[in-house]
């Protein structure tokens, strides 16, 4: 489904991604781990189309289509979804209005009729229950004043509403208490299906207890330095990154977080 070949990207002249290669098939769950600053979020943002990052080389295709030449909104309409590590707060736009506009943009793209306010409200209430968010959050500004965990649940809620083909989850498990972690994991598992791929960025094995990945990759200094099965995550948990020959300062930064 997703094929990344020799992807290089930089920001303000600094190369962050230095040749990423990754193949993800439909139905698979891949986890990406790695020290702070290694480029995990950059990869996620580049896939979603953030123009703050410049792609300098490489190729990315989604189901055979060149993804990089598409605008962000078109990637989203083709099924790319990014759960942000730091979801932005947008006061003045209600969460409900935002989600309905997004759902209707997708429906419009698929040639389906738009959902009216009442229909959408019904759907949104159900899904908000699924991620254990009080429906009162729908009335608030997008992420406005949400706690860290509430923001993450709000991201999963959007994934459930938009039903993407490729869900990229950037540290959706960070800052969650144990109950919330379970809620988010259940949400992600609900997304899991034969025709969908999931790419999860995480620092913790504990998420992988709930969502068992098919493949685990270690990203360090802009490259994937090691790939393996779920047992790689366990090994990283035990031994850290140093045994992989990752620079000491990276490791220090990672454990300080």
């Amino acid at each position: 489904m997703l094929s990344i070949k020799n992807l290089h990207a930089s920001v303000e002249g600094n190369e962050i991604l230095k040749g990423i290669n990754l193949e993800i098939k439909a139905g698979e769950v891949h986890a990406i781990m790695g020290p702070n600053g290694s480029g995990k979020s950059t990869l996620a943002q580049v896939l979603a189309g953030n123009e703050a990052f410049e792609v300098t080389a490489g190729e990315v295709t989604l189901n055979g289509d060149n993804l990089m030449e598409k605008a962000t909104e078109d990637r989203a309409r083709e099924g790319v979804f990014l759960a942000f590590q730091y979801p932005v707060e947008i006061p003045g736009v209600s969460n409900l209005q935002f989600m309905r506009t997004a759902v209707n943009a997708m429906r419009h793209h698929r040639g389906e009729p738009e959902m009216n306010a009442a229909e959408f409200m019904k759907l949104a209430r159900e899904v908000s229950k699924q991620v254990d968010l009080d429906p009162a959050f729908l009335k608030r500004g997008v992420n406005e004043g949400f706690s860290g965990g509430e923001k993450k649940r709000n991201e999963i809620m959007q994934a459930l509403l938009l039903q993407p083909k490729l869900a990229i989850l950037d540290e959706t498990d960070s800052g969650l208490d144990i109950d919330a972690l379970k809620v988010v994991a259940d949400g992600v598992n609900a997304l899991r299906s034969e025709d969908r791929a999931i790419l999860m960025v995480t620092h913790y094995q504990r998420l992988l207890d709930h969502i068992v990945p098919d493949h685990v990759h270690v990203l360090a200094d802009g490259k994937i330095v090691k790939s393996g099965g779920r047992e790689l995550a366990l090994e990283l948990e035990e031994r850290g990154y140093a045994w992989l020959g990752i620079r000491e300062d990276d490791v220090a930064a990672s454990s300080a977080n």
């Binding site: 189309g49 990637r75 979804f81």
Partner: protein, 429 residues
């Protein structure tokens, strides 16, 4: 030697419409005589420095527009209404109650004694040295609306004053409103200014409010005049003890848009809340000048204005707060935020604080910014189109103020209008 100033053309000093009681005609003559040597503002004129270049008072638009035409408001009117065409009331199109304690009269219908009293009071809420064009209205008005609320009178529904300018020919109109709100009385007044026709025209308005002790007045002003109509309006407010004045000014840009709002807090415990939203696009202009005079002690003022300028348009906000020496324990809050939607747009904002009392709380803030790229990326990453995302974020900048408009039908209409306005502003995104 200074060059001689350009004076207001004498063509502007020919009032039409003689159907007014003699005291008002006399007032008009007197005000007209005072304008004979009125210099037109230039960019050296402090309170017109950003806007004088938009002022085009050509002889072509000097004559009065005829007091006839079709009437059609852009608003649903869930209340009473009084319709004016080119500053002259149209009784057939108006619907308002005949009450003992709330008197609604056109100037033309006033008795000699009533007109005398009114003539004494017209212009008394405005400093005509800084609101130069109020004098022009006083020299030219052909009719007007006098609203008097007796003590404790409460108007049960909003009163809409629909001011239509028929710009199917070139000319001028001079709408005039005077409100006298007695002790503890209450009224919500919606003023809608709009135009039909495409010719060049001038609409020059004055609206005055006098609030006696405990009176509560809400004024919604919708400036939606046509694309070739210059609008120069003024609102003056005098407030006595414990009175409350709330205003919501919604302004859409044009070739020239100017609104002066002056509030005099003269009785202790008086309070005003002034909200304003301005949107401009293309080569449009809009200039709000507000003045809050804290004359008495223990008064509160709260002012929130937002400007959004797209394309090559130009918005101006000048907010003056003047705290007089006896106005101890004044509480004044002024906030102006501005959004530039293009690099070619211009916004000038200037807070002016003059404080002569020592025990006051006075806060002000002004910012100019652009749409947040990170927010935009978040929205489009959910499949929302760029144009729609821009509209959502721009609306977000003013939603809070639109939501405060206390008449639902007006709020809904404004929401729709603003959405359309921004959708057009972002058509090339």
């Amino acid at each position: 030697m200074k060059p001689a100033p350009t004076l207001l053309s004498s063509a502007f000093l020919q009032p039409a419409g003689q159907a007014l009681p003699e005291p008002l005609l006399a007032l008009r003559r007197q005000r007209g005589a005072a304008l004979v040597d009125m210099p037109l503002p230039t960019r050296k004129t402090e309170n017109w420095k950003y806007s004088s270049k938009y002022l085009k008072l050509t002889d072509e638009i000097a004559g009065s527009l005829p007091a006839t035409g079709k009437t059609g408001s852009a608003l649903a009117v869930p209340g009473y209404k009084v319709v004016f065409i080119n500053g002259v009331m149209v009784p057939e199109a108006s619907e308002y109650p005949d009450l003992n304690d709330i008197l609604i009269q056109r100037f033309g219908d006033l008795s000699e004694a009533e007109a005398n009293e009114l003539a004494e009071r017209l212009d008394s809420t405005l400093d005509t040295r800084t609101v130069q064009f109020a004098g022009l209205n006083s020299a030219r008005f052909e009719d007007g609306l006098l609203i008097r609320l007796k003590p404790n009178a409460v108007l049960d529904k909003p009163l809409f004053i629909i001011h239509e300018v028929t710009a199917s020919t070139s000319g001028s109109a001079f709408p005039r409103v005077f409100v006298d709100a007695g002790r503890n009385s209450q009224i919500t007044l919606v003023e809608e200014y709009f135009s039909s026709g495409q010719e060049a025209a001038l609409v020059n308005t004055v609206t005055e409010f006098n609030l006696a002790d405990g009176a509560n007045v809400t004024n919604i002003r919708l400036n939606m005049d046509g694309e070739n109509v210059q609008h120069i309006g003024a609102t003056g407010v005098r407030q006595q003890r414990n009175s409350r004045f709330e205003s919501h000014c919604m302004g859409f840009g044009g070739p020239l848009r100017r609104h002066d709002l002056q509030v005099w807090l003269e009785g202790e415990g008086a309070e005003c809340k002034l909200n304003g939203v301005v949107v401009t696009q293309g080569s449009q202009h809009y200039d709000n000048h507000t003045t809050i005079e804290h004359v008495a002690a223990h008064c509160n003022s709260e002012e929130t204005y937002r400007n959004i300028a797209a394309d090559k348009s130009h918005a101006v906000f000048n907010g003056r707060i003047h705290i007089h020496k006896d106005a101890q324990k004044s509480n004044a809050n002024m906030n102006n935020k501005n959004l530039l939607l293009s690099t070619g747009a211009e916004i000038d904002t200037k807070p002016e604080l003059e404080i002569y009392a020592d025990d006051v709380k006075c806060a002000h803030g002004a910012t100019i910014g652009q749409l947040d790229e990170e927010s935009l990326f978040y929205l489009v990453s959910r499949g929302i189109g760029r144009r729609e995302a821009n509209v959502l974020l721009t609306m977000a900048f003013i939603n809070e103020l639109v939501a405060q408009i206390p008449v639902d039908a007006v709020k809904d209409t404004m929401q729709t209008r603003l959405n359309q306005f921004f959708d057009q502003a972002f058509q090339e995104v």
